[in-house]
Structures are given as C-alpha cells and as structure tokens.
C-alpha cells in the first residue's frame, strides 16, 4: 500500500460510511466548494484537505479498485465504507508512517506552495549572486513567482547589501530548522531540495529513495515541514522578518460565494432569515445554506441568534454520544432541534484539527 492509498483509506474511515467516494476525491484534491469544506470540517479532515492537489481522477479510481480488491472497503450506490480488515491495515500503516502533526492543509492551502516557490528561488539567487554567478537556471519558472521574487530582492537590497541579506536569511533558516530538529525531526528532508550555486537540489523521488519512503509519504512530510515553518514564522514575525515577508501579504481571506456574501450583508443589518428570503426572493432553505457556509468559513461568526445555547449543548452531547455526522440520527436523539440547528452546530463545533 503506498501512502496515497493510506490517505484515501484514512478519509473513508473518518467519513464513517456517511459520504460518497466523490467526497473523498474532492477532499484529497482540495476542491473549494462549500460541500467539500463542510466535509473537511465536520469529519475532522481539514488537516489533509488538498493533500494531493495534482491527483487525477483515473489515478484515484485505480486506487479505489485496489482497495475493493483487497477487501479494505465496501462500495454501495451512494457511500463507501471501510471494513474491519481495512481498518486494521490503516492503523498499522499509520503507526509506521504517521500523518505529521504539523500538517494543516486547510489553513495553508494557498500559501504553502507559494512559500516554497519563492523561498527556493530566493535561496538559489542569493547563493549564485554571492558567488558572482548571474547566469544560472532558475528552479522556478512561474512568471508571477519570478516577478515577485525580483521585487522582494529589490526591496530588501535597499536595506541590506547582498552579503548581509544572505547571512540573515541563512541565520533565519538555521534557527527555524534547528527548532524543528529539536522535535526529533529531520530538517534535511527540507534542505535537500534547496538549490544553490552549482549544487542543484535533489528531486522528490531521489530524497524519498534515500530515506526509504514512498514518494507520496515524502510529499506529505515535506508539506508538513512547510506548514510548520509558516506556523512558526507567523507566530514570531519579529524573529523571522525575511521569512515572514514571504507570506505576510497573503491574507487568508474568507472566501464566500457571491450570493452568500449578499446574505451576510443582510444578516449584519439584523434581518431575520424570513426577511432575507423575502428581500432576496430566495427560499428560506437557501438562506440557511448560506448561513451554514458562513459558519464553516468564519470561525468568529456567532450562531447564538439562530440556535439557543441550551439546544446547542444538547446537540453536541448527542454528536459525541452517537459519534456520527448523520443529521437524521442526531435529530432522532434531539427531537426539538431542527436540521438547520444541527448543521450549524456541526459546522461551528467540529474539531478543526
């Protein structure tokens, strides 16, 4: 079983037979729809959201076939379920190859790649210019990355000359990676990919090979290191000014659909669901969908005005007790709650990891 298979199995296990195979695919690939976001948060899978963004449908289907053949999963018309055998093998695999605790796919979904592209290009440029070589092959060819890095260098060069800039960057990297190493982790899994003057970095498959991992696992580990670095530098921007400047303008803005934004605007004007539906000429259930989306996307959004705290508490107790995200079963337990209330509570209080 490679780690892609493990991750698929992991999602299936977390979904507890309540979601379809498409939901698994979208989650791993990182589709930005409110359904997938809801799945990620309700089922505590936000850390693996978008873990393999380049995954192709055919590849995924191949894996599903393999899992069925191994009798690790059972497919029915709408959902997919993990078997006992599957669960056992999943546990064994995760023991040997644990999902790194630093991984946070949902929070860093757009930033992580940018951070790596910029940093790797900057390191290469600093290293080459420091050795008097301005004629080297850039490791990143993306138009916007190159433009962005040029601007970055220009800005910092007004402050530091290239020797000092290089020393400072080295120092920041050394600091943050030492801190990482103190957690009994191996910074070389990151450093080996960096390129410098006349020393190209190693490829993903070369590193995976050296450390005897499969490539899918290495990709996850690598990404988790990036997430770790971003977390640390966001917490201590004054300690890592250069690294922090790579991401500080990448606001993690809350992305809402156009229609939901209009609804939010009316909510802020203290309109009720009924009123909003009337004003917008939409069904009340549609407005409720919008409110669920807002709750998912914005952790600071309060739901008290839609569900009173006592009922919230009862729903939370029921969710814990039943260990399910199935609305129908929760409703059977808490008969005076409506579906809307249950969805809001699920969205608000799911373990975001």
């Amino acid at each position: 079983m490679n780690f892609l298979t493990v991750m698929i199995l992991y999602c299936i296990s977390q979904f507890k037979g309540e979601r379809s195979i498409n939901a698994v695919f979208y989650l791993i690939q990182g589709k930005k729809s409110s359904q997938t976001i809801q799945d990620a948060i309700w089922y505590s899978l936000s850390h693996v959201f978008s873990i393999y963004p380049d995954l192709k449908k055919e590849q995924f289907q191949e894996q599903m076939k393999k899992l069925v053949r191994l009798q690790y999963i059972i497919l029915d018309k709408k959902t997919v379920q993990i078997t006992e055998l599957g669960e056992k093998n999943l546990r064994q695999s995760l023991e040997k190859y644990p999902i790194p605790a630093e991984l946070d796919g949902w929070t860093y979904k757009d930033i992580d790649q940018k951070f790596w592209q910029r940093l790797s290009l900057i390191v290469q440029i600093v290293s080459n210019l420091g050795n008097g070589d301005s004629k080297f092959m850039p490791v990143q060819r993306d138009f916007y990355t190159q433009k962005w890095v040029k601007q970055w260098l220009y800005t910092w060069n007004t402050k530091y000359n290239k020797q000092i800039l290089s020393k400072k960057l080295y120092h920041e990297l050394e600091q943050i990676l030492s801190q990482f190493e103190r957690k009994k982790k191996n910074p070389n899994l990151f450093v080996a990919r960096l390129s410098g003057y006349q020393q190209p970095g190693l490829t993903i498959s070369q590193i995976a090979n050296i450390y005897d991992m499969d490539e899918y696992y290495y990709l996850v580990v690598f990404r988790s290191i990036i997430h770790y670095m971003i977390t640390i530098i966001s917490e201590q921007p004054q300690k890592y000014p250069l690294l922090y400047s790579l991401i500080k303008n990448e606001k993690r803005e809350i992305v809402l659909t156009e229609s939901t934004r209009k609804t939010l605007h009316l909510i802020k004007m203290d309109k009720s669901i009924k009123e909003i539906a009337k004003i917008r000429k939409l069904k009340e259930s549609t407005i409720e969908d919008h409110i669920v989306e807002i709750t998912l996307m914005d952790p600071t959004f309060h739901i008290e005005r839609f569900v009173n705290p006592a009922i919230q508490e009862r729903i939370r107790t029921a969710i814990k007790k039943l260990n399910t995200r199935k609305l129908k079963r929760i409703k059977e337990e808490v008969s005076n709650a409506d579906y809307f209330a249950i969805r809001l509570v699920l969205s608000k209080w799911s373990d975001r990891k």
Binding site: D54, K56, K57, E58, V123, V126, S127, G130, N131, G132, S134, K135, F136, M137, P138, V139, Q140, R141, F143, Q163, S166, K167, L169, Y170, L173, E174, L177, E181, N186, P187, N188, F190, V191, A192, L194, S195, G196, Y197, Q198, Q199, P200, G201, L202, T203, I204, S205, Q206, I210
Partner: protein
C-alpha cells in the same frame, strides 16, 4: 551596411571566441536581407543564427517553435546569457499573462511563439504593428507532409507571414531531405531563399549497432556497457516505466549515478535533473525523447538506444547530443527484432484513433458547438495527448460539418500512418543492412561520407577509446542538513 565585426559581437554577447561551422555564413546571409534556409545538424548551434542578428537588427526577432518545453528552455537559456527582453507566447500562459505581454510587446526583443498562437487574430494584429525584423521558423521540416514530424499548424505559416507583411525570414532545421526543403520554401513563400546546407555527419561520434536476441539479453548487455563506458551518457527508452526501472537498477548495482527523465515529471524536477546532469552529480540519464533539447551539456560521451527511435531523423537528433565538445564519443543501438512491433504501436499511438474521433464527435454534439468548446480547447481530455487534441480541433474547425470532419480526419490519419511506417522501414533497413553505417545513413541525405578513424561497427571500432578512464566514484555523500545549508550560503571571495 558597414562591415560589422561579427566576432566581436559574438564575444561580447555570447562569450564565444569563434563561430562554428556555418553559423557566420548564415548570419551574414540574414544580415544581407536574404531569405535563408539553413540546415545545421543537431548540436552545432542553430539558435545562435538568429540570436546574434538580434543584436544588430533594430526590430523584434519572432521565432516560431513547435515544442513547448523546448521553447521554455530556450527562453531560459537566453536569460542565462543576460538577455532579459525575451518571452514565450504559448498555451502555458494564463489569460492575464498573455494580456500583459501583448500590452508590453515593444519591451521584448526575442519573442518565441507556438504556431497555434499565430492563429489568434488578436495576437497577429499586435505583432503586425510591432516592427518584426526577422521571422524565424525553427524546426522548419515540420512544414512538410513528407517529413517525419509534420504539424498541420505549420502549413499556415505562409499565410501568417503575409499577414505580418512578409518579414525577412530564416527557416532552420537539423534534418531535411531535398523534397522537404522544397516544401519549406514553397509553403513559406520564400522560393528565392538562399540555402545553406551542412553535412549531417558528426565524425567524432562512432556508430555501433548490436543485434540482440531478446529483452533479458538486452538488459544484461546494457548493464555491461554502462559498467564499461566512460560517462556521462544518455540512455534512450521508449517508455517512462522502463527508464525508471533501469535507472533504479543502475543505482542499485552501484555502476553509476543514474536518474530517469521524462515528460511525466513536473517542471521543477525536470530542471533539477538537468542541472544535476550538467554538474555531473548524476552521470547517466535514463530518458525518453523528452530529454535532450535545450540541455547544453558539452561532454556527453555516449548515447545508448535501449529502444530504437521511430525514424532516422530522430536517431540523428538524439545521437547528436553526444560529443558537442568535439571529443570522441559513441552511439550504440541495442536492437532486437521484437522492437519493430513496439515501434509500430508507438506510431499508431502518436495519432488519434477511431475511438478518439468518436469520443470527440460526441463531445462536440453534446455541447452543440457553443462556448463550452472554447474552454476545453486547450485542455486535452484524459486519454488524449496534446498532439491528438490539437489535431482534432484543427480539423474540426476547418470542416463545415461533423461528417466532413470525420472524413478529413480519417484520411489525414491514414496518410500520416503510411508515411510514418515508411520512415520506420527506412530506419529498420538501415539497421539490418550490411555495409558502412555512416555511408548508408549519409546516402539517405544525398551525402557522401569522409573516412573516419572510429567509424562504425562495420568498419571497426577500437572500444578502448570509450572505456572508463577511472573507476566511477562512489555515490555522493548525503550531507548533514547544517553542512548543506552552510555550503549553499557560503561565498567564495
């Protein structure tokens, strides 16, 4: 025009002391405002023939190039020599990037463009007003239906050229027989072009063919060769999977530092591998035909074909990556009779088949020809290659209805198949015929050969020229992360 000191310009912009065979003559022909058709063999510096005039002519040099990856490489190579005014216009660009570039077109000196982008009226209208001093048609043999690599988009370059007000034109190719050369001039409407034809022969590359019984024997022989031959070397495969497999075997056996390179890798990994090869961190590249173009490595000592290519022209291109420094090098082809069937399959796979056409027709029917099509146009469906997709669209757009499309497409495929099979036969005959390899291959290009010391397996090769000088060094030590980081940031003063 005043007499320019071309050598001085060469030194100033490209850091070379002297021209290679043909370059100066071709450049002078262009500077004298002659339309020019030039045939220079692979590895002898074709691109300099239009890059250098760029520093003399006032206007833009527009270069039509068929391969996207090659185009990207060339752009980066030009940036390497310090030329910032260079850009590639192709389907890799996002919409915003394209708009940005078109708006700033006068900021660029060297513009690479793919032929399908020249079908875009907006782009043409910008280019028309952009003062193009030289139109370069790279890989010009793609124009000819008789060529091994015909691309229908190239057929329209004549019309494009007229739309651009008939700029001065330079057609470049590494492999073109007489009929293909005629086609090039006719299609581009440059019948008065001056021709500069240089020999296909690379006398410092010995040619060896070994007939081998079956796959296991081939693998054994390959391992033996890799163990004996002085690297760096490139081993060509027709499948990614085999390239991966054999790179792993070579590393495992410790007889070299190998990596595998193919189009399935993402760009960052491709760049890293090219650089590792360039700096001799790896000395054996197990590759598909995707590797080689744009890799300017001078000291490649051997090329081995584990699988044969599909035609003589590709063979010459691939072996041409050896010995660019002029030193003794060898090209070895391992051939077994089964290879023929594999090659036939590959040829068929290069073109869309009936299923592809049916699928495409259904797709068009279900979307009723509205804008949905435009979105899918540059995004091949799963199961289609870029080439398939482009061809299908091209024929669909030039047909009046679906029936006509199906007919035209099918007959095109038929005729391409038969030409490609003809080409394969030519290669197979060359492999199986007796007699001097060099003489036989040059005959196909209406050339005579000169005598060479280490010529071919038929005339005799002294293998001691190509054997390992020193035992291969151990695999590179994995540095501790702190040491690696230090060495990346260390400056030599």
């Amino acid at each position: 025009m005043k007499t320019l000191n071309l050598e001085q310009i060469l030194q100033q912009y490209f850091s070379y002391k002297s021209f290679r065979t043909g370059q100066k003559e071709i450049i002078q022909s262009v500077l004298n405002k002659n339309h020019t058709l030039a045939l220079l063999p692979t590895g002898t510096g074709k691109s300099l023939c239009y890059q250098l005039p760029g520093y003399i002519l006032d206007g833009i040099i527009l270069i039509v190039s068929p391969l996207l990856s090659l185009m990207q490489d060339q752009v980066e190579q030009m940036k390497l020599i310090g030329e910032k005014r260079v850009v590639a216009i192709n389907s890799f660009l996002t919409f915003e990037e394209r708009i940005y570039i078109l708006k700033h077109i006068q900021d660029y000196k060297f513009i690479y463009i793919s032929p399908e982008m020249l079908q875009n009226e907006q782009i043409i209208s910008v280019l028309k007003d952009a003062n193009i001093d030289l139109l370069v048609v790279d890989e010009a043999h793609c124009i000819s239906q008789w060529g091994y690599d015909f691309r229908p988009d190239y057929l329209e370059l004549g019309i494009v050229r007229e739309k651009l007000n008939n700029p001065l034109t330079l057609a470049l190719t590494a492999t073109a027989k007489l009929d293909v050369r005629k086609d090039i001039k006719k299609t581009l409407l440059i019948e008065d072009a001056k021709e500069y034809i240089y020999s296909m022969d690379r006398p410092n590359i010995a040619l060896q063919i070994e007939r081998i019984q079956d796959y296991p024997a081939k693998l054994n022989r390959l391992i033996e060769l890799v163990d004996q031959l002085q690297g760096p070397g490139i081993i060509y495969f027709s499948s990614k999977k085999k390239a991966d497999e054999i790179a792993a075997i070579i590393n495992e056996k410790g007889i070299g530092q190998a990596a595998s390179y193919h189009a399935g890798l993402e760009q960052e990994m491709r760049i890293l591998l090219q650089q590792q090869f360039l700096y001799n961190h790896i000395n054996i590249m197990c590759a598909t035909s995707a590797f080689g173009m744009g890799v300017n490595k001078e000291n490649v000592r051997y090329i081995i074909h584990f699988h044969p290519p599909l035609n003589i022209e590709s063979y010459l291109q691939e072996i041409g990556r050896a010995g660019r420094d002029g030193k003794d090098s060898i090209a070895i082809m391992l051939y077994s009779d089964d290879d023929y069937f594999l090659q036939q399959q590959l040829i068929e796979h290069e073109l869309p088949n009936e299923k592809h056409i049916d699928f495409f027709v259904n797709l068009v029917r279900s979307s009723k020809g509205n804008e949905v099509n435009q979105i899918t146009k540059y995004q091949p469906f799963p199961g289609f290659t870029d080439v398939h997709w482009r061809l299908l669209w091209k024929f669909y757009e030039s047909s009046n209805n679906l029936q006509e499309f199906q007919m035209n497409m099918t007959s095109f495929i038929q005729s391409r198949l038969s030409i490609k099979k003809e080409k394969l036969k030519e290669l197979t005959n060359w492999i199986t015929n007796s007699g001097c390899r060099r003489r036989n291959i040059l005959h196909l290009f209406e050339e005579e050969n000169e005598e060479v010391e280490n010529c071919c397996d038929y005339c005799g090769i002294d293998m001691s020229y190509y054997e390992k000088q020193k035992p291969s060094d151990q695999g590179k030590q994995i540095l501790q992360w702190k040491d690696r980081l230090k060495s990346i940031f260390s400056f030599s003063d």
